[in-house]
Structure formats: structure tokens, C-alpha cells
């Protein structure tokens, strides 16, 4: 077998998901690409005749892997449902990628893009091909509390080559709502940035369904050439139905579901039951659009005139500096009171201004709070950021690498704007308390910038399944603790990393996922100026990961790298002979791949104590010798004074001795 064949075989072997689904990176399927994932051919190794494809997800995003098991059970519903998902080795980059495997048992995409116009679908076709087949899927997802959040015309596929019915495309390859064009989103979601639309609900799905029907009916002509801002403005001013249907002729029978589904008031919007009743033959008069109250006179803002609070609020959110000037001028409050005769809002604006004066709020905070008053239940807006309140946490993760967004997000959280927003809502959300806690928790970690806390910890605590964004292992797609050590093992095996093996992302990722990571370890990691303590912290952290992940897998390459990196810890012992012995023992232990062995050797309390005490004794002894040497060198013995003094003593002693001998001798002579 040639070397090329060997390499291909090895590459193929590594790209197998769960030992069953073979992924073929070299066989792309562009027609099945998703906005945030690319499609490649996949094969079921147990049934090679089964046609399959896999979506290869982006490494900086978290697909909706939490709903994959639930969706996998919906195999008989008109929807492309995932079969399996997981990470596989990716030979192109040498890292790992998250792939989602699907059956390829459907026809072509209905339309290539929502930006392009298509041939309008006739109403009877729409009824037969789209509404009837798809209604059960909406029911099923609604009952399982799953929002699809990717319902759009370009994510619709024919069931087969006969083109008699359609099915929903997949909805798991990207965070919810991220890939949705503005026309498919309700007004509040459309006002939010794509990453900040939140999980969404079935009501959002039903709106998107209505928007999709409108697109198919009109062929996309109504919104063709319009910018996102123009589409949202049209929805606000004319209502979503009028904005999306435009001048198109629609029969009364199809107008009823369209008006119901595209109702801008979420409480009045059709539910799945309404769709089913309508399909079952119930006929009601179409809902009339509920447009916002129009003022007696317009307010000028940024060179345009605005007649409603909602349209003004949207415009102010887009033009922040001008909005701040308008808020500071006081014109807004007067307009609300006089032109809109809305004293409640006027009083609320007055209250916000007075509170801002007392609290010394900055103008940006005041503007944001003003927007909460004139546009209640709209997304939270601050400077260039606009997001639904639950979507703000998603946006924090999705746009984490966007420096400007991150800075704005930090300012928002520090100013406690999310908490103020939640308190200002007209009706309480079921997740209000949980969201409050989450934002408080983010604030808590932002106040602690040390490694293992800070911005990164806030990211992983608020987004519990988000993959680790460490530059070291970003291509390894680590979203579970079990994957972390193998990923580091691969990184080390590829060659010595030029940076520390534990960076702020990895430390925060571990601290958020593993409760056994103690404050002591994080304190050790925070000591960058003390390399020995820092490296000991790295060892403690990775040892906890090895123990906590439950994997019995050893990591010899990582251990050997760690053994080389712990020289500062070895050097922190004073006794040279112990250092040499310790280095030898570490070298031996590292080959076993057990990080605990290294900890056992390097962090022995007894050894450390003995070394410290021994060093203190030696230091004292050395100082004693130094004192004697200094005394001797200073003439302690040989100085004339000392010699004279000692000589006098010696002379006296000799004299006394000689005298004593003489007396004894004389006595003996005279006595004898």
C-alpha cells in the first residue's frame, strides 16, 4: 500500500463519529451548507447504502447540542432532524471539530437565499405544500418546549424530487435566531443584534412561519432591496403584515392566518392551536393590525420626523449620540406629554431624569433608561448594543472576541442596566429571578479580575456549555471537561507550546465546570510574579481536572511537559541535593502520565517544612561563621591590644606556676 493510501486511511479512521458515522472532509456538499456550518458527505458504517451528510460547525460557536437528543426523536416529523453529534479529529487543521450528522433523505432547497426574489407560490400550493405538512412539526416542537428559530424560506426543503411538500431545515448548527434575516423576526427580536435574540419561544417560531408564508406568497418582492433598518421601520409604522405583504393580493382565507401569525402583539398572535383550528375549517375575521398610538405632532430626530414612541425608540437606539442629546434637552418629555398626551410615560421620564441627577448617572446610562421607558419590552439598548435581555448573555458569548462589544457589555453590566431593565418590564418574566442572579453573578466575577475569575469566568458561568475559547485549544472544540486533558495532550504532542498551558480561559473554564477547583488554586494561579507558585497552581488545577473529569486516561506527553515546566518549583527548594533527587523522581513519574504523582512529589508539606527549617538553620550557621571570620580578619586575635592583654595574663600564669614550683621545691629542701 502506498504512503498516500496509508495517509488517507489514517485520516479516514480519525474522522469517525462514535465509531459509526464516517465524515468525509474532502467531499463538501455546498448546497446543504448552513449559514454557520459547512456540509460534507457522511457515511453510516453499519449501513453504507444510507445517504447522510454532516454539518461541520464553527469552533467559536455553540450549536444547539442540548436539543439534539430531543429532536432526534422527531424522525417522522417534517423536519431535518439530527441523527448524532459530537467532536471528531479534523485532519485539515489537526484539531477537532463538532459535527452534526443528518440523513440525506429529502429534496432540494426551496429557495437559495432570502435576499433574492423567487417565483411566488400560489395560495393553494402554499396551503398544500407548506402549511398543512409543517403544522404537525410546529405542534410537536411546541409541546416539547423547543423553539426552532431558523424558520425561513431558504431553510425549507422539498421532501423529494416530486416537490409536492416541504420540510423544515435543521435548526441546531447555530445558536437560536443567529442566522435569521430581520424580515423573519418579530419587531423586538429584529431590533436586537443577531447574536442577542435569545432562545426565543414558539410565538417567535409562529411569527417566522407567518413571515416565511408571506415571503413565499410574494416571492420576496415586498422587502427586496430594503435594508434591515427599513424593514424594521416598516414593521413598526405599518405593522408586520402590511410591511411583508405590501400590495400583494391575498385572499381572505389566507389573509386570516397571515394576520394572526404576523400579529405584532405577542399576546394576540396566533398559537399552534389557532393554526390547527384554521386548518380544521374554523374561519374567523382576520385580526386587524394593532399599530402604536400616533402623536398629534411629530418629533424631529436626526433629520427625520417620528410619530410614535416605538419608531422614535428604535431610531434613538440606532443613533446613540443624537439620542443622548435629545434626552438631555428635555424635548422628549414635553413631546410625550403634549403630543402623545401620555402623562404616565411623561412622569416615568421625569422620574428617570430626577433619579439620574441623584445617582450621578452618566448620559449613556440615562439614555438607556429613557429608552426602557419609551419602549418598554423592547430590547435593552446601550450605545451600539441592542439585545433581548436573555439574548444579551448569548451575545456576550457569541461576540466575546469583538473588543468593542465586550467593552460595551462590561459597561452595561457594571451600570446594572440588565437588572434595571428587568425591573422595568411591564409584566414579570418566568425567568426574571434567574436572569437577575445571572447578571449579579457576572458582575461578581467582573469585580475579580484575577486568573480563573474575571471576564472569562463570567463567560463560562453564564453560558454553561460554551466551548473553551483559549487560543491554545480553540481548534480542539473543548466544550466538556472530559475533552480538556486530551486536547492539551494533543497540543503538547504537536510540539512545545510557546505559552503557559493554563491561560485565563482554561482556568475560568475549569473553575466554572468543576466545583472542586478551590479558591486556593485560583489564588496560586493569580500569582504571575511568582512563577513557582503559579506553576504549582497549574499542576493543582490540571490534577483536579484529571480527577474530576472521571477519565482514567493518562496524559504522558502533558505530564512530561509539566515536568519540564515545574523547574521553578524544584528551584524553590533550597537544598541542592534534594533538588537533584526531586528532578530525577519527577522525570521518572512524568512518564506515567499521572499529574497527581507530580503533585505528590512537588507539594510535600513534610519535605517543604524540612527544607525551610534546614535552610533557616544553615543560614544562621553561615552568619555565625561570617561573624567569626570578620572578627578574625579584623584582628580579633592578632591585634596589639589582644596580644598584650593575653601576654600579661600568660606571664602572670607562668610566674605563678614557676613560683609555686619554687616554693614547693624550697619547702622540700628545707624540710628534708
Amino acid at each position: 500500500m502506498s504512503e498516500q493510501a496509508h495517509r488517507e486511511q489514517a485520516s479516514a479512521a480519525s474522522c469517525v463519529l462514535d465509531g459509526r458515522y464516517q465524515i468525509h472532509p474532502d467531499k463538501p456538499l455546498p448546497p446543504l451548507d448552513a449559514p454557520m456550518a459547512s456540509a460534507v458527505v457522511a457515511t453510516d458504517l453499519r449501513d453504507t447504502g444510507r445517504e447522510m451528510f454532516a454539518l461541520v460547525c464553527r469552533s467559536d460557536l455553540l450549536p444547539r447540542i442540548d436539543i439534539i437528543p430531543e429532536l432526534s426523536r422527531l424522525t417522522r416529523r417534517p423536519m431535518i432532524t439530527p441523527v448524532d453529534a459530537g467532536t471528531v479529529d479534523w485532519p485539515e487543521t489537526g484539531g477537532r471539530r463538532l459535527v452534526i450528522v443528518f440523513d440525506r433523505d429529502f429534496g432540494e432547497r426551496v429557495c437559495e437565499s432570502s435576499d433574492k426574489t423567487i417565483t411566488p407560490v400560489r395560495e393553494d400550493q402554499l396551503m398544500r405544500m407548506v402549511i398543512k405538512p409543517l403544522a404537525p412539526a410546529l405542534r410537536e416542537m411546541s409541546e416539547r418546549y423547543i423553539a426552532h428559530r431558523a424558520i425561513r424560506a431558504d431553510n425549507l426543503f422539498y421532501t423529494d424530487a416530486s416537490r409536492q411538500a416541504v420540510i423544515f431545515g435543521e435548526c441546531v448548527s447555530a445558536p437560536p435566531g443567529l442566522s435569521q434575516p430581520v424580515m423573519y423576526e418579530p419587531i423586538d427580536s429584529a431590533m436586537a443584534r443577531a447574536s442577542g435574540r435569545g432562545m426565543g419561544t414558539t410565538a417567535d417560531d409562529l411569527y417566522s412561519f407567518g413571515a416565511m408564508l408571506a415571503f413565499l406568497l410574494t416571492g420576496g418582492e415586498t422587502v427586496a432591496g430594503m435594508s434591515d433598518e427599513e424593514i424594521v421601520e416598516a414593521k413598526i409604522v405599518r405593522g408586520s403584515y402590511s410591511a411583508l405583504i405590501g400590495q400583494a393580493r391575498v385572499s381572505l382565507s389566507i389573509m386570516e392566518p397571515l394576520r394572526g401569525l404576523l400579529c405584532d402583539d405577542v399576546k394576540e398572535r396566533w398559537t399552534v392551536t389557532d393554526v390547527e383550528l384554521w386548518l380544521g375549517g374554523r374561519k374567523l375575521s382576520p385580526k386587524q393590525p394593532m399599530l402604536p398610538r400616533r402623536a398629534a405632532r411629530a418629533i424631529a430626530f436626526s433629520g427625520k420626523e417620528y410619530w410614535t414612541k416605538l419608531s422614535l425608540s428604535y431610531a434613538m437606539g440606532l443613533r446613540w449620540s443624537e439620542a443622548s442629546q435629545l434626552v438631555a434637552s428635555g424635548v422628549l418629555e414635553r413631546w410625550v406629554r403634549r403630543a402623545l398626551s401620555d402623562d404616565d410615560t411623561g412622569e416615568a421620564l421625569e422620574g428617570v431624569t430626577e433619579t439620574a441627577a441623584v445617582l450621578s448617572d452618566g448620559e449613556d446610562r440615562l439614555t438607556s433608561k429613557t429608552l426602557m421607558v419609551i419602549g418598554p419590552d423592547l430590547p435593552l439598548r446601550y450605545k451600539g448594543v441592542s439585545a433581548r435581555i436573555d439574548g444579551l448573555i448569548d451575545a456576550f458569548a457569541i461576540d466575546f472576541h469583538d473588543q468593542d462589544f465586550r467593552q460595551t457589555f462590561l459597561e452595561m453590566v457594571k451600570a446594572k442596566l440588565p437588572q434595571i431593565y428587568l425591573q422595568s418590564l411591564s409584566s414579570a418574566r418566568p425567568d426574571q429571578v434567574a436572569l437577575m442572579k445571572t447578571f449579579d453573578m457576572i458582575n461578581f466575577f467582573l469585580d475579580r479580575p484575577a486568573m480563573g475569575n474575571g471576564l472569562e469566568r463570567a463567560l463560562y458561568e453564564s453560558n454553561p456549555a460554551w466551548p473553551c475559547q483559549s487560543p491554545l485549544i480553540q481548534d480542539q472544540y473543548v466544550y466538556e471537561m472530559d475533552d480538556l486533558l486530551p486536547a492539551l495532550e494533543r497540543v503538547v504532542a504537536r510540539g512545545d507550546p510557546t505559552q503557559e498551558i493554563v491561560d485565563p480561559h482554561i482556568a475560568a473554564f475549569c473553575a466554572a465546570r468543576l466545583r472542586s477547583i478551590s479558591e486556593r488554586i485560583l489564588r496560586e494561579l493569580g500569582k504571575h510574579d511568582d512563577l513557582a507558585t503559579f506553576r504549582l497552581g497549574v499542576l493543582h488545577l490540571l490534577a483536579e481536572v484529571q480527577r474530576g473529569s472521571g477519565t482514567k486516561r493518562k496524559c504522558p506527553a502533558l505530564c512530561q511537559w509539566l515536568a519540564r515546566s515545574v523547574q521553578p518549583i524544584v528551584d524553590s527548594y533550597h537544598n541542592r541535593a534534594y533538588r537533584v533527587r526531586l528532578a530525577e523522581e519527577i522525570g521518572h513519574a512524568s512518564t506515567k502520565g499521572d499529574i497527581h504523582q507530580l503533585i505528590f512529589l512537588l507539594d510535600s508539606f513534610e519535605a517543604r517544612n524540612q527544607d525551610t527549617e534546614g535552610f533557616a538553620r544553615a543560614k544562621k550557621e553561615h552568619a555565625g561563621h561570617a561573624r567569626v571570620i570578620a572578627w578574625l580578619q579584623g584582628g580579633g586575635l592578632t591585634s596589639p591590644e589582644n596580644v598584650q592583654f593575653r601576654s600579661q595574663q600568660a606571664a602572670t600564669l607562668i610566674s605563678a606556676t614557676v613560683s609555686a614550683i619554687a616554693i614547693v621545691t624550697l619547702t622540700l629542701i628545707y624540710v628534708i
Binding site: T533, V628, S647, Q648, A651, L666
Partner: protein, 165 residues
């Protein structure tokens, strides 16, 4: 401060008084002995003249020179005293002995030996200390080097210790 000085001065005069009192008491007690042993005292005083001179010239507090010379001088006086006692301890005998050159030679020779010892010891001891000092210096330096080899330069205290892990 003034009060302390005032208190100290009476103490000093009290001590001085006590010392002279002792001397007086000793003198009074010795008077009968001197009276009885007057010939011996005369011989002793004549032969111990070098010791008295040494005491006079010795400015040290401990009076090492006086002791060194005095002890040997005293030994040299003993033959004269014994001879006196053998002759009945009379004034005549004391005069004879005091004029005998032999006893002078013995007493003054012994005193000279004391002087010689006192003058010769310093250069000898100085040389001895030179040798000892060098040996001890080397020994301590060796021990210091051994400590540095075992514990590193930090043990000298001149290098900042690395923080321990």
C-alpha cells in the same frame, strides 16, 4: 540627672570610706605581727624592692607586671627569710642577711626572671596568634563554602531568596 549625681556621690565616698576602713582594720590587725616579725619584715622589704618598683610602674588595673615580678621576687626572698629564721630572727641577723650579696642576687635574680618573662611573652604569643588566626579563618571559610554548596548562595543572605512554592 542632677539628682542621680547627688545620689552617686555619697555612694562613692561611702565606698571609698569602706575601702580605707578595711585598710585601717587590716593595718591595725597586722601591727602585732609586724612588731613581732620586724626583722623578717626588714629583710622582706629590702629584697622585695623590685616588686615594689614594678607595682609602682604598672599602670594596668589588674597589675599583671607587679604580680608576675612580685611572685618570683617573693620566691627569691624566701632563702633569706629562712636563713633569718634559722639565726633566731634578730635585728643583727637581719642586718647581716640584708648585707649578704648572695641573698640579694637570689632575690633580685628571681625578680629579673619575672621581668624577663613579662617582656618575652608578647612577641611569642603574637606569632602564635598569627598562625592560629589563619588556621581558624580557613576552617570557617571551608564550613561556609560547604553550606553554600548544600543550600545555595541564598544561604549567605546576600541574595534575595526565591519565594517558596
Amino acid at each position: 540627672m542632677a539628682r542621680q549625681i547627688e545620689q552617686a556621690e555619697p555612694t562613692k565616698s561611702k565606698e571609698g570610706g569602706k575601702g580605707s576602713g578595711k585598710l585601717i582594720v587590716t593595718g591595725v590587725l597586722m601591727l602585732p605581727v609586724i612588731a613581732v616579725l620586724m626583722p623578717s619584715c626588714i629583710v622582706l622589704a629590702i629584697n622585695m624592692a623590685p616588686a615594689i618598683v614594678a607595682y609602682a610602674v604598672d599602670r594596668t588595673r589588674e597589675k599583671y607586671l607587679a604580680v608576675t615580678v612580685g611572685l618570683l621576687n617573693f620566691c627569691g626572698t624566701l632563702p633569706a627569710e629562712v636563713a633569718l629564721w634559722q639565726r633566731g630572727q634578730t635585728y643583727d641577723a637581719a642586718m647581716d642577711i640584708a648585707s649578704d650579696a648572695f641573698f640579694w642576687l637570689v632575690a633580685y635574680g628571681a625578680a629579673a626572671l619575672g621581668w624577663a618573662i613579662y617582656l618575652m611573652i608578647p612577641p611569642i604569643l603574637g606569632h602564635y596568634y598569627e598562625i592560629t588566626s589563619h588556621a581558624r579563618l580557613q576552617s570557617h571559610q571551608r564550613k561556609q563554602q560547604a553550606l553554600i554548596e548544600a543550600w545555595g548562595e541564598e544561604v549567605t543572605g546576600e541574595i534575595t531568596e526565591k519565594p517558596s512554592g
